[in-house]
Symmetry: C2
Subunit: 353 residues, 2 copies
């Protein structure tokens, strides 16, 4: 039966990259006999400027009924920074309890990485970022705001339930991967409360999985290792803020933000999961055909996998892998292929099988 | 008149690398006619195991009277993680109000960087990390610890005074550099309280310095840019935790932790400043002559500069620059030169001028 996908293209390069992802999904749907129905939602900067709302409750209720959400990017110079990011991206992640932010860091063959001598087989990890709590809860406040004695506090709130479900997802994922290795990334020597909860929970879940090898790495050291020895890692579990930081670095290592995919997963299915490229709306290059749609297409691949279509997912990945080596650069006019041509080439590769 | 330097070699490779820094300082002292007096303090893992104390109050009072502290590294497998780091490093940073953690990220000629095509002139920035507050204050707590409803909170506390003095130091430093550029790194779109204080303070200080160019970069994007375009940056100001993270990454970019120097500065002089390599105690390679003392010697150079001996400081830097290109690797047996030989070669270069 039909699967309903809510499409939220958003701002800047969001619409042009998601259009290619839709094209790729449709090609895969034809080839593998899937029934995908797309419903467009015009959220983002314009919508906010006209209506004063980021996501009105009735739209949220409709989104909640979708089988999945394919998201582009939001953010525009005309909107105060943070309004759309928090009101849309962060809001949906928490409202739909998408507690796993799954971000593969994978160097694809033929993609130039900024790291000397790094080979694809040395860079194939998955970072699972807790996606509903930590420093992202927005807890904190001011005392004497604006005066010389001002204090601003910002709180990271971590629950056993939230930490445990993310870590369990990491161990489940690791069970299905050849290396069966999970790394906890935190800063437990300094963040002694949050770090203690993460470490204790990690140790307990680890004790239930004697087949899985584990280790712990401080977030500062993680940044160093991601550059110098990414082959150390298989599955990485970490909190919301550290995950935000290390996945951007991971994107750099795997050849650029334009290539990085992510899934905001609600593994219970109580609400839809949402798939989005790691990059932002890049208003500076929007509308020129200079955006790399690989991140969006690979996010759509994660979506197809999540919707129960692993073969179709792999055909999108294979299509991207076939086209990437033909690019002159990973974004911009030097790409040597427009955003749309890239999408057409991937769709053709999928159709041809 | 004599300047009294408290030497805290610490654990692991701390003693072997600081010994080379002392040697280099003594060579510079002879050449430039400085009067440096060293006083050794045997703090670290052994001291803690025997006495049960990390820094006893009387030792702290003596350290407080020094003109500067040269610190090696602490940490040993025999001590619970965090005890020495917090009890010694973090404690002295705050007790002595060393509110600026100055960490140059500089690619020296002849040093192999993991980043493709990166040239020394593209990587010459200074990161100023707020060093006394933020998430490092250790505020937070547990509710229902150990149970299924446990919550662990961790608070970042930021004061106007603390933020402003760090930012002002950044602008002062930028005034004396050719590019006159300061970047604020934070995550202001999500950490709306702390980020707001940092951004408002930054904007106000910036308004007083019309000659200085400024910009703002999110910490996640910063990690990406540090790898792909470090030439964007001149002086970077940021909070304690973000500074911890991005300076380890900076160390990777400039060729390794073994080369990275830092100064914990108390610019008011109300207590001594402390100079330490960014690396840790590396117990795995301790005592074998495999540690690279460059980070320690370059930290000593920052110390000499701070003590009012810029020529002597430059002679240490020049010595390190002369010796580094002779190494076969940046650490380990492949270095092709022992830790001590490295120190001797630097001292010889300093003496010869
Ligand atoms: C847009 C922003 C709020 C978001 C985040 O911080 O999570 C982004 O950086 C990401 O990584 O998805
Ligand atoms: C040892 C540790 C407490 C310390 C820190 O987190 O500041 C270290 O990582 C550093 O960067 O100096």
């Amino acid at each position: 039966s039909a699967q309903r996908i809510a499409l939220v293209p958003g701002d800047g390069i969001g619409p042009e990259v998601t259009a290619q992802a839709v094209k790729a999904c449709d090609a895969a749907a034809r080839r593998f006999g899937l029934d995908l129905v797309w419903e467009d939602y015009e959220l983002g900067a314009d919508y906010w400027r006209i209506t004063g709302q980021v996501v009105p409750p009735d739209v949220e209720q409709e989104l909640a009924k979708a089988d999945a959400i394919l998201f582009g990017a939001v953010g525009d110079p005309s909107v105060p920074p943070g309004v759309l990011e928090r009101g849309l991206v962060i809001h949906l992640r928490t409202a739909f309890d998408q507690y796993v932010n799954l971000r593969p860091v994978k160097l694809l063959p033929g993609v130039p990485t900024p790291i000397k001598g790094l080979r694809p087989e040395q860079c194939d990890l998955v970072i699972l970022r807790e996606n509903t709590e930590g420093a992202y809860v927005g807890a904190g406040g001011f005392i004497h705001r604006g005066g010389p004695d001002e204090i601003a506090t910002q709180e990271s709130v971590n629950t056993r339930k939230g930490v445990e479900r993310l870590i369990r997802h990491g161990f489940r994922l690791a069970m299905g991967r050849p290396r069966k290795h999970v790394t906890l990334v935190h800063k437990a020597n300094i963040l002694t409360y949050a770090g203690d909860l993460w470490q204790r929970t990690f140790d307990e879940v680890s004790a239930e999985h004697p087949d899985i090898e584990v280790d712990y790495v401080h977030v500062d050291a993680m940044c160093l290792y991601l550059v110098t020895q990414p082959e150390r890692f298989d599955v990485v579990v970490t909190d919301n803020l550290f995950g935000d930081i290390i996945t951007d670095l991971g994107a750099a290592v795997q050849g650029g933000l334009g290539l990085a995919a992510s899934g905001n997963l609600n593994p219970t299915g109580s609400a839809p999961s949402m798939f989005e490229p790691v990059h932002g709306s890049a208003p500076d290059i929007a509308g020129r055909g200079w955006a790399n749609p690989a991140g969006s297409i690979l996010s759509a691949a994660l979506m197809l996998e999540h919707l129960g279509h692993p073969e179709a997912a792999r055909s999108l990945e294979a299509g991207v892998k076939a086209v990437l080596p033909r690019l002159g650069a990973m974004r911009g006019p030097e790409m040597g292929m427009s955003t749309e041509d890239f999408g057409d080439a991937v769709a053709a590769a999928i159709s041809e099988g």
